[in-house]
């Protein structure tokens, strides 16, 4: 039988073999030692036609409960926002989707210009001078920021607060261990960073302080104070931010961040079971040659027309090899394109409104929940669109009751902070602009009935 993606006919194969001067295709594999030639077929399922494939794979999909049929209050790094349909239609144009990295600039102006626009938008949101073309995701972007700071400062220690997403911290730890650097995690008993706790560590041994704003608990960190402390010391300030929150929150440049990273999923990308999304990275101009990853720059053709190319490539692995700023090659271009189109669709006022509605709906929900007997906020202090509440009953009961009513509840902190028994029955709720008042009321009503 034939295969739909393999167009060569038996006759054409024969013609090609004749042109090569080979008797058989097997002759073209004669350089593989006989001992390792596979003598059997791979043990894989027999092929499916397109319609069979759709049925099979959709059946697997149907074994999942999707956020399209259930109401979710999960956040913790992946957020459900309203996404203009145009984002999917435009990003999925085949010329974008089926292109490789834009190595030949003259026939890749679409991807290159869109990336230049993306870099500009990331700078607009963060207030930073320069941005790269994207990283794999927020967690690896934070890890790369830590490595970048180590390379710039020659420090061998990185400080992170406990209030940073535990999975992000875990990734940073894995990356740092590989180069023999130390990650010190400072506790956040009350949910946010204590800037004074940094003092003993400031100095040339400490490459960077990592702060997440808003932090994992949705709380706002004292970034002004941290920025002030780090202003005149060699230790760098790396901020990890939620891009949507920058519709209302202060740009990291305003509080003195040297490097800004984050996960771009909230910008027009689906939750996707956690990936793909994209990581963004921006920095002060003086660090541009120390950044990892691709960067697109403006230039001119011979007639003086504007065009865009990959630039400062001497930082990168294909030129600099083991002295490169990072090993990253493939990034998350298509996901960042979705982010670019999302921002273009939302615009200046739209992004502000999304961020504002998130804050308004989250605060409304928190007030409704904590008005129930036995429910209280785990932490005090200002927050954005996530908040942790202590439940009067075990979280397992809460989430089971919610699921029974078509609601996917918040994230139990016990899963992420097993060493914090005092947070055991706390649940982290997220409310975005995508949640409606009636969905929120339904949530509160079910919570009320949980015993």
């Amino acid at each position: 039988m034939g295969y739909p993606y393999l167009p060569l006919t038996p006759g054409e194969r024969q013609e090609m073999l004749s042109a090569i001067g080979a008797e058989s295709v097997e002759e073209l594999f004669s350089d593989i030692p006989r001992e390792i030639k596979l003598q059997k077929n791979l043990d894989l399922p027999q092929p499916l036609t397109e319609s069979e494939l759709i049925r099979h794979v959709q059946e697997l999909g149907d074994r999942n409960i999707s956020l399209d049929t259930h109401t979710s209050f999960l956040g913790a790094g992946v957020y459900q926002h309203l996404v203009p349909r145009a984002v999917y239609h435009l990003a999925n144009r085949a010329e974008f989707l089926t292109a490789y990295t834009p190595y030949q600039a003259e026939i890749s102006q679409g991807v290159l210009q869109a990336t230049f626009e993306y870099q500009t938008l990331i700078c607009s949101l963060t207030g930073m001078d320069v941005a790269n073309a994207s990283m794999y995701d927020g967690a690896t972007a934070l890890a790369e920021a830590a490595l970048m700071a180590i390379n710039i400062t020659n420090g061998s220690r990185v400080i992170a607060f406990e209030s940073i997403h535990p999975d992000y911290r875990a990734v940073v730890e894995t990356y740092l261990r590989a180069v023999g650097a130390e990650l010190v995690v400072l506790p956040t008993d009350r949910g946010t960073a204590d800037p004074e706790a940094l003092r003993p560590y400031l100095g040339k041994d400490t490459a960077a302080v990592l702060v997440q704003q808003p932090n994992f608990f949705g709380l706002l960190e004292p970034v002004d104070e941290i920025g002030a402390l780090l202003e005149d010391v060699p230790t760098m300030f790396a901020a990890c931010v939620n891009p949507i929150s920058l519709g209302i929150l202060k740009a990291p440049a305003a509080y003195g961040a040297d490097i800004v990273v984050g996960d771009g999923q909230p910008l027009g990308n689906p939750p996707a079971f956690g990936g793909p999304s994209f990581g963004f990275m921006a920095a002060k101009e003086k660090y541009i040659r120390r950044m990892p990853g691709r960067i697109v720059g403006e230039t001119r053709d011979e007639a003086g027309n504007r065009g865009f190319v990959l630039t400062l490539q001497t930082r990168e692995q294909h030129i600099r090899r083991h002295r490169a700023t990072s090993n990253i090659c493939t990034n998350a271009a298509h996901s960042s394109l979705m982010g670019t189109i999302y921002l273009a669709m939302l615009g200046k006022e739209g992004l502000r409104e999304v961020a504002l509605q998130c804050a308004q709906k989250a605060h409304y929900t928190a007030e409704q929940i904590t008005a129930l007997p036995g429910w209280e906020m785990l932490f005090e202090g200002p927050y954005y669109h996530e908040f942790a509440v202590k439940a009067p009953v075990p979280w397992t009961k809460v989430n089971a009751a919610l699921l029974d009513k078509g609601i996917i509840g918040g994230l139990p902190l016990a899963k992420m902070y097993p060493d914090r028994p005092e947070w055991e029955n706390a649940i982290l709720f997220c409310v975005t602009e995508a949640r409606t008042a009636s969905e929120i009321q339904h949530l509160v009503q079910v919570l009320k009935g949980v015993r």
Partner: protein
């Protein structure tokens, strides 16, 4: 419009107050922002984003896309990148809400289908690799390399051999190999290639020793040549106590023909966005799973997808069903290497691809890819220098040395190809070939498409002799002429600042 010179930037379009997307009206009490969040955390002005209508956005990105080449547009023989057709049905499957609309922290009971898909994909990749277990977490090939090297490091440390701090890498390797080794704290030891284009076995014998942690090898290598001495190489490295890492960028040549595990490789990465047909999206996202042999399994990053039996009481029958779960309880694990579980929607596409090809189909993929490359090589070697004249696998490397004598470089040839609506081969790589043109046609092209490329390449070779100056100024039919990369690097302008600073910077020069 798509062909316009100085095509406007997003930031140069729109008008104050214009909107492309509206939110539903707020349906909870409208409290002011200042009431919710103290002023010290807030920005005083909205972020300066563009303000466009929906049609402006649609036209802008539609026309940008028309200024871009993709596989769906035309031939894309970019060596080492495996630009094969990306099946449309796989895009539909990846956007199915049962996959695209899943939150990674949903209860495991609500994502059994997703976990099963990951579990089965892991099984398929292990079978193709000839190895024991795999992790799907790495987001790209280079990320897989980094992860794989971390596993190698953890393995040696667990055996009290943490002093092994050297990774051996051939001079023909991808740049990511040495860069990944450096990110893993390893010293890089380069080993030369022989005049046949393979790892020089004698040179390898000289560099292995008690400090050797491992060897990273691409097989077939970046010249498109199978490392015929692979079993000897494996013996030498293993004999010195090192491990073998397989860079799977070129795995499209060997599917179902031979397996890295059988060659002696201990750690293998695959690029799902190359071999398994998922789209590159203009540079990513990809996925770079790694498969490992049995004694490296304990070190795999967390979480690992596992399966167990769960008894259910279906109408009193008391049956057992499979239950999938994420295992974090792995004390020897290197830890987490990516947020959540990897690029899941890329996995969905690769899974669908493997199921639509089946075992014989995958073998046919490699046979056709190798046939196509050898066909192009046979037809082009009279017009271009072929530094290693032997059977190639899925790609081969020509040199523009002959043309260079006439003032025409590999870059000029690449740029001229663009005028024919064809992407250029990979140029100036591998580094060991002067004026390299690395050509990978893939198995999804028709013979007619291959013949057309041959005709164009032969025409360009003639042009190089008859009118070299014409090639030096190519391309002519693209939306911009040849772009000045030196200018871009000397005066980096990496964001729009009102559109004036490029001129200003150029004037300063």
């Amino acid at each position: 419009m798509a062909g316009q010179k100085n095509f406007p930037l997003l930031m140069e379009l729109g008008a104050p107050g214009r909107r492309a997307y509206l939110l539903p009206e707020l349906d909870v009490p409208n409290r002011s922002l200042e009431e919710l969040i103290p002023d010290q955390y807030l920005r005083s002005e909205p972020a300066p984003l563009p303000e466009l209508s929906e049609l402006e956005v649609v036209r802008h990105f539609t026309n940008l896309s028309r200024r871009n080449h993709g596989i769906d547009v035309g031939f894309y023989p970019l060596g080492s990148c495996t630009m094969k057709y990306n099946p449309k049905v796989n895009e539909d499957l990846a956007s199915y809400p049962g996959f695209a609309s899943l939150h990674p922290y949903q209860p495991e009971a609500t994502v059994q289908g997703a976990l099963q898909l990951m579990y089965e994909l892991e099984e398929y990749l292990c079978e193709i690799a000839g190895l024991e277990r795999a992790t799907l977490a790495p987001a790209a090939g280079a990320h897989g390399e980094l992860t794989g090297l971390m596993l190698i490091k953890a393995y040696h440390e667990s055996r009290g051999e943490g002093h092994r701090d050297e990774i051996i890498i051939p001079d023909s390797a991808h740049g990511t190999n040495p860069a990944s080794a450096a990110m893993c704290g390893y010293k890089v030891v380069e080993v030369a290639s022989s005049e046949r284009g393979s790892v020089c076995v004698d040179a390898l014998r000289k560099v292995v020793g008690p400090k050797t942690a491992g060897l990273m090898l691409t097989n077939p290598n970046t010249l498109g040549l199978f490392e015929e001495d692979i079993l000897t190489i494996s013996e030498i490295v293993h004999g010195a106590g090192g491990l073998l890492y397989f860079d799977g960028a070129n795995a499209n040549a060997i599917l179902g023909k031979c397996r890295p595990g059988d060659m002696g490789f201990d750690v293998v990465h695959f690029n799902l966005h190359k071999t398994f047909s998922t789209p590159h999206g203009g540079g990513g996202p990809g996925s770079g799973p790694i498969a490992v042999r049995e004694d490296l399994v304990p070190f795999l990053p967390v979480p690992v997808v596992e399966k167990r039996q769960k008894s259910v009481d279906l109408a009193g029958t008391g049956q057992n069903i499979d239950e999938f779960y994420l295992d974090y309880d792995r004390p020897l694990s290197i830890g987490k290497i990516k947020g959540f579980y990897g690029n899941f929607l890329v996995m969905v596409r690769a899974y669908a691809y493997i199921l639509s090809m089946g075992p014989e189909g995958l073998k046919q993929v490699s046979e056709d890819a190798v046939l196509a490359a050898n066909y192009l090589m046979a037809k082009l070697k009279s017009a271009y220098e072929l530094p290693y004249d032997r059977i190639c696998k899925h790609e081969f490397v020509l040199s523009a040395k002959r043309q260079k004598a006439n003032g025409v470089t590999a870059r000029d040839i690449a740029k001229r190809l663009l005028d024919y609506d064809m992407h250029a081969p990979t140029v100036y790589f591998p580094l060991i070939v002067e004026e390299a043109l690395m050509i990978e046609p893939t198995e999804t092209e028709t013979k007619a498409a291959l013949d057309e490329f041959i005709d164009v390449m032969l025409a360009i070779a003639r042009e190089a002799e008859e009118s070299p100056e014409k090639l030096q100024k190519a391309p002519y039919h693209t939306v911009v002429g040849r772009l000045d990369e030196t200018l871009a690097a000397r005066h980096p302008v990496v964001r729009w600042q009102g559109g004036k600073d490029m001129e200003a910077k150029a004037r300063d020069e």
